[in-house]
């Protein structure tokens, strides 16, 4: 029997019984009003493509439509006009990961560098920094890189970072003031494993002293987010004062119960949200799901409020290896 006031009380009841569900509902509503979009890699019909959607997951668009090519690791320019990304091309011994950029609507694809990966943008969108592959032979390994290179979009020229000892970095990002790169290093440059701050135009290298991997700097340059483990994502305040770079006021903003992993955190342009990917760990030989180009069945894109703990919403639900999300700023040229 349905009571006289109908079923309209159910959402209120859910809020009362389950605060987490309420928080998710609130966040979903909130995200409907966010102007930024989110671009991510997804494995659709046997092929990697780049999709873009609104912050709440609505209006998904395939930007690539290339069943013969595998596009991965999209990174939007700070002015919101372009996307840098990598493409795994070829098969077997001729397989190679190359770096491209294109317009934000998927048109005008241009090759930046062959055997290159892990791009990030200079704050004024005039240059892309990237890592060269360590070997001629293809490797999925995230740290199989050697050297930072900078590509100038206007001149089409490349220059190598002055520190020629740079190796085994992954997940490169560039501070908004242009003075620092942040990246993970694994078994290289004298480190076992660390998150480093590397002078953009010098030889200085500083171990940030935070465990884990995959740092991302907020657009205002004041905060960093990263993954301290498979099951947590942290944020901290960056202190660039003096000769050292420090991370202080570290706090966990997302935690996950095994076997669900959480990875690939990225700040929204206004710093109010983070996006990340989330999915099951898999017990198998071979590539682990969080690696670029590794299939990750059941993984989806989420958006969270970094001001709280575990206030998040899943914005994709098909579980088709949705990973490496990146916020797309509102286009400044229009």
């Amino acid at each position: 029997m349905v009571p006289a006031w109908g079923l309209g009380f159910l959402p209120l009841l859910m809020v009362a019984i389950c605060p987490a569900a309420a928080a998710e509902e609130d966040l979903s509503s909130e995200l409907k009003h966010v102007a930024y979009k989110i671009v991510y890699e997804t494995y659709q019909d046997g092929n990697w493509e780049l999709y873009v959607c609104n912050a709440d997951g609505s209006d998904t668009v395939n930007l690539t439509h290339t069943p013969e090519l595998n596009e991965l690791y999209p990174h939007a320019s700070p002015d919101g006009t372009k996307l840098a990304f990598v493409v795994d091309e070829g098969e077997g011994p001729s397989k190679i990961r190359n770096l491209y950029y294109m317009n934000i609507d998927g048109t005008g694809r241009k090759l930046v560098a062959k055997n290159a990966r892990q791009p990030c943008w200079k704050a004024d969108s005039s240059a892309i920094a990237y890592l060269k592959g360590e070997f001629e032979k293809f490797s999925y390994t995230d740290y199989a890189t050697k050297g930072i290179f900078i590509y100038d979009l206007k001149t089409g020229t490349h220059r190598q970072h002055p520190n020629r000892k740079i190796e085994h970095l992954y997940n490169l990002c560039w501070s908004p003031d242009g003075k620092w790169f942040l990246a993970t290093v694994h078994a290289g440059m004298g480190y076992k494993h660390a998150i480093l701050a590397i002078e953009a135009d010098g030889a200085g290298v500083i171990d940030l002293g935070i465990p884990g991997c995959r740092p991302d700097i907020s657009a205002d340059g004041k905060r960093v987010a990263w993954g301290p483990s498979d099951w947590a994502l942290c944020v901290g305040d960056l202190e660039f004062s003096g000769p050292a770079v420090k991370v202080v006021n570290v706090r966990e903003v997302l935690t996950s119960e095994k076997p669900t992993k959480i990875y690939h955190i990225d700040w929204s342009p206004d710093g109010k949200y983070v996006t990340y990917s989330r999915g099951p760990a898999v017990k198998r030989l071979g590539l682990i799901p969080e690696i670029v180009g590794a299939k990750a069945e059941g993984w989806n894109i989420c958006v969270a409020d970094p001001g709280q703990t575990n206030r998040y919403v899943e914005i994709t639900t098909d579980g088709k290896c949705n990973k490496e999300p990146d916020w797309v700023p509102v286009e400044k040229t229009k």
Partner: protein
């Protein structure tokens, strides 16, 4: 991998091996309470198609575990092991990179053991090595192991301990005196907080190096703290269930006690990102012993075969004599179609 001086030292050790074995047996036989290994003959050396030296470990029976150590080492129990081949050295970075490309080791050096290796990495190397030599890979994608396959795998915990003990029943293969360990392994007190090139300490009685220390070695078994209470008496493979996998032998960072033949450790297998491996963990491989070892020729025939002349110099005769157990067996030669360290082409 090894310098000529190191090889000469190795040969000398093999020349002395029967005497060493007699000495070991002479000292330890009166102390042994459990069963002794079936064979005391010096094991045969085999060089695989990829140029990796292995030792043919004879089938035998030994007492596994200890009633005097940590809780997980008891009860001491008798175990029978079939014949198998085991790498003479821990897997080096040179051999790892030749198949896997990426060198994620912290302490770089091609003769140093590969470390920062997850169990998954090690299992994938085993499969890659099997495929490179035309053998049947042992590990399935779901990480289960086909023990009947012809290819490489990680040793079972029982195989590892049997090979480490090499007939001994003492705390270390070198005896019960922990002061002797400095001659046989790299551990906390002598390693200077790093790994060292493999084979630079003394081998055990079966010619295996670095079974104590340098890097802790993955076994194929899942870890079960109480497994010894109910494990099979023949070729035990570890418990069916478990989160962690067994590590044996201790490492450069380990105490003497953690390097004992019976000492057990375990860690998560690494179905995870590169963030978390340890620079103390490596591995070596085993595989089934297929076919019979080549008959050892008479001494005169050895010299004649090896040196090509009965009047060869004493040094040449020694070389020839020692070459016999190191030569390829017939099945190894048949697979040796490409240079060591290089993958066969897909064609």
């Amino acid at each position: 991998m090894k310098t000529s001086n190191q090889r000469a030292g190795t040969r000398l050790r093999w020349l002395l091996l029967p005497a060493m074995l007699l000495g070991v047996c002479g000292v330890s036989c009166t102390k042994v309470e459990g069963p002794a290994p079936v064979s005391h003959a010096p094991p045969e050396m085999v060089t695989t198609a990829l140029g990796i030296e292995m030792v043919r470990i004879p089938a035998g029976r030994f007492t596994m575990g200890s009633d005097r150590g940590e809780e997980d080492q008891s009860p001491a129990h008798d175990v029978e092991i079939d014949e198998f081949l085991i790498d003479r050295y821990e897997t080096t970075q040179k051999h790892y990179v030749a198949l896997m490309l990426d060198n994620g080791s912290k302490f770089k050096g091609e003769d140093r053991p590969a470390e920062m290796i997850s169990w998954v990495d090690a299992a994938m190397y085993c499969n890659a090595r099997s495929e490179a030599e035309g053998l049947q890979p042992c590990y399935h994608e779901d990480t289960t192991c086909n023990y009947d396959a012809t290819g490489y795998r990680l040793p079972t915990e029982a195989e590892w301990e049997y090979a480490c003990r090499a007939g001994s029943s003492s705390e270390y293969a070198s005896g019960s005196d922990p002061r002797m360990l400095k001659d046989h392994g790299w551990f906390k007190e002598n390693a200077a907080e790093k790994t060292h090139p493999v084979g630079t300490k003394k081998p055990n009685a079966w010619g295996l190096y670095d079974m104590h220390g340098n890097v802790a070695e993955w076994c194929t078994d899942k870890y079960g703290k109480t497994y010894y209470a109910n494990s099979p008496a023949r070729n035990p493979h570890g418990p069916d269930e478990g989160e962690q996998y067994v590590l044996r032998g201790g490492s450069w960072a380990s105490s003497k006690d953690a390097c004992q033949s019976t000492s057990r450790a375990a860690d998560n297998p690494g179905f995870t990102d590169a963030c978390f491996p340890r620079e103390t963990i490596g591995f070596r491989c085993v595989r089934k012993a297929t076919g019979k070892a080549r008959e050892k020729p008479a001494a005169g025939a050895e010299a004649s075969q090896g040196a090509g002349s009965a009047s060869a110099s004493p040094a040449a005769n020694e070389e020839a004599h020692l070459r016999v157990p190191m030569e390829h067996t017939t099945d190894e030669i048949a697979r040796c179609r490409f240079k060591p360290g290089r993958l066969p082409s897909s064609s």
